[in-house]
């Protein structure tokens, strides 16, 4: 593995980084999109932390700001129309938003990497996967073509692509969905990032392949001591892999809890409703408990708690600004609901 050792040495260092600080800390992040229809507030003050060897799941339905959070961390929001209007994104104590464009570019892939939802469209169709990996090593690590190719085959082996030596010369469209997602993971891991953001990594796959990919991710994370942010809308995917869960709704985090507690005893009406809407075998033949209504348009978020039009526990205080803050429920659990006690059923 001499090639990969040489690669690790060449990895650029971020000045001012404190190795003891949390791997990634997002604080009061705000992102808005200025469109013709108005200003869409995609993220309204999101805070969380991820450490090495830890998986944080961000869960929420479409359009709640999960992916925008990921893109803001990577620094790949198209601007205009997207603007980060406030907050901090601290990587090892360094606020990335204050760094130059070039420094941020260096951080991508080297420190923080991202996996996209649809691997077929996230791989460049006109180049072989081997070429795409090799280019990465050549540009970021200054490797020769031959060394880069060797390393590419190592990586494809690592993500368990059978016959990697042969398949390295294939184009993305020649891989099956699951294999393609493995290629994406290989590319994301190529430069040994400390943090991996997986944006719905299994949504485009069928269920059996989903499990394989999630296991692979979990295993690679353990081996490499990475931190991982798993973005998903699928409560089933999260259960096995995540350590902690943040539930997002309309650009805010409404509940934070360790994975077990979320399933056992949700503290926010939205989480509770989400759990109730999962189809269950023992309730066969009954009407599914869906959440009535639609998530709010981000251009016109309701006053107070954004969930109030769909909430079972709603009272007048919920319709007043400011929206409820995150109340500490237990040391590890917090909920942005005035009535978390009723939701939990505690007294």
């Amino acid at each position: 593995m001499s090639v990969s050792q040489a690669a690790a040495q060449l990895s650029p260092n971020l000045t001012g980084a404190d190795p003891t600080a949390p791997l990634l800390a997002v604080e009061d992040l705000r992102v808005e999109f200025r469109t013709r229809a108005g200003v869409a507030k995609a993220i309204n003050g999101v805070s969380f932390e991820v450490n090495s060897r830890e998986t944080l799941a961000i869960l929420g339905e479409s359009g709640c700001g999960k992916s925008v959070t990921a893109q803001a961390i990577m620094g790949i929001i198209d601007s205009p129309p997207g603007f980060i209007t406030g907050g901090q994104i601290r990587y090892r104590g360094v606020d990335l938003l204050k760094r130059t464009r070039e420094e941020r570019r260096q951080i991508r892939a080297n420190k923080i990497a991202m996996i996209f939802q649809d691997a077929l469209s996230a791989l460049n169709p006109v180049f072989t996967v081997g070429f795409q990996l090799t280019e990465l090593f050549r540009k970021h690590r200054g490797m020769s073509r031959t060394d880069g190719k060797k390393r590419a085959i190592e990586l494809l082996d690592l993500v368990r692509i059978p016959a990697a030596r042969k398949r390295v010369n294939d184009f993305p469209h020649q891989f099956s969905g699951g294999m393609r997602q493995r290629v994406m993971i290989a590319i994301a891991l190529a430069l040994d990032p400390e943090l991996l953001i997986a944006d719905e990594p299994t949504t485009a796959l069928d269920v059996t392949v989903q499990a394989q990919i999630m296991n692979l991710l979990a295993e690679l994370q353990r081996e490499r001591h990475m931190g991982m942010i798993l973005i998903t809308h699928d409560m089933g995917v999260v259960a096995d892999v995540a350590d902690r869960i943040n539930i997002m709704y309309a650009g805010r985090i409404v509940e934070k809890a360790p994975v077990f507690d979320i399933y056992a005893k949700p503290s926010h009406p939205y989480t509770k409703a989400l759990l109730e809407s999962i189809p269950r075998v023992d309730l066969k033949g009954q009407q599914l408990n869906v959440i009535k209504g639609l998530p709010p348009s981000l251009i016109r978020v309701p006053a107070g708690c954004a969930f109030n039009p769909r909430c079972r526990y709603v009272q007048d205080v919920c319709k007043l600004d400011p929206p409820p803050p995150l109340f500490q429920v237990q040391p590890q659990i917090s909920s942005a609901c005035h009535f978390w006690k009723e939701v939990r059923g505690d007294d």
Binding site: R105, R108, L123, R160, A163, I187
Partner: protein
Amino acid sequence: MSDTILGQTETIGPALSPEPPRERSASLWADARRDLIRNPTFVIASIYLLFVGSMAAFPKLWTRVHYRDCALTADNGLPNAKLPMFSPGHWLGTSEAGCDFWSLSVYGARPSMLIAVMSTFGIVIIGLPLGVLAGYFGGWLDAIISRLVDMVFALPFLLVGLVVLSIIKVTDPNLRIWTVTMFLVLLGWTTVARIMRGSVIAVKNLDFVMAAKSLGATHGRLMFRHILPNAIAPVFVIASVALGGFVATEATLTFLGVGLQAPATSWGIMISTHQPLIQDYPHLVLIPCTLLIGTVLSFVLIGDALRDALDPKLR
């Protein structure tokens, strides 16, 4: 797409069976090449262009008579001008001035092809980078480039050609070719810029561009490594159609008297000098017309075939 169906079976762990032999890595371009070779229109058009192209490049391959060896009366005293086709010694007859018509036609290919090829290179060299920049960066740069395109696009081609080329009085045949080329490039680059801009905008919003960005790719790299190869196909189509268009435009400008001028030869010159004789000697006009139309048609057909072969949506 039999590949994807084959690839659908997920192999877990060590491969149980050896992989089935499959067609070697077919990229978009490799697929296109295979399609084109099987397309009879493309093959016929290519052969025709090879014929005309070799006339332009090596006229001596096709005729031993120089196009300026003209004589109004032959050695035996008989008239030599305006001979009909299949006369002894002149199988396409002779021109008004007693020149061998076949030789004129062969030598006439060079200026036409030269102007067409150089102009096409010119419009791609100017239009492609401008289109990529406008499409990729958007904003004020796009606004400036797009308005410039609109302005040039609004100029009436023939009218401006008549005015500008009649003002520029360059008579040296070689320099005249350059003058006409420059004019064609200056008015023609807008199509390429427009197409390229649109195509870049379509490609830059695809996921793999964002993925490349998230892997730390620079602007230049995104533009030229990731976007350009995926966005350039329409330019090949435009270019091949433009080649044909420029052959026709050169002939038009020459016919109107502002393009190339005698004593040079070109198909346009041949048409314009013999145009008064069309009733009595139709072949003197029809022969250069046929060559011209064949060339234009071949370029257009090749453009068509290229578009079919390169457009993945038609698969």
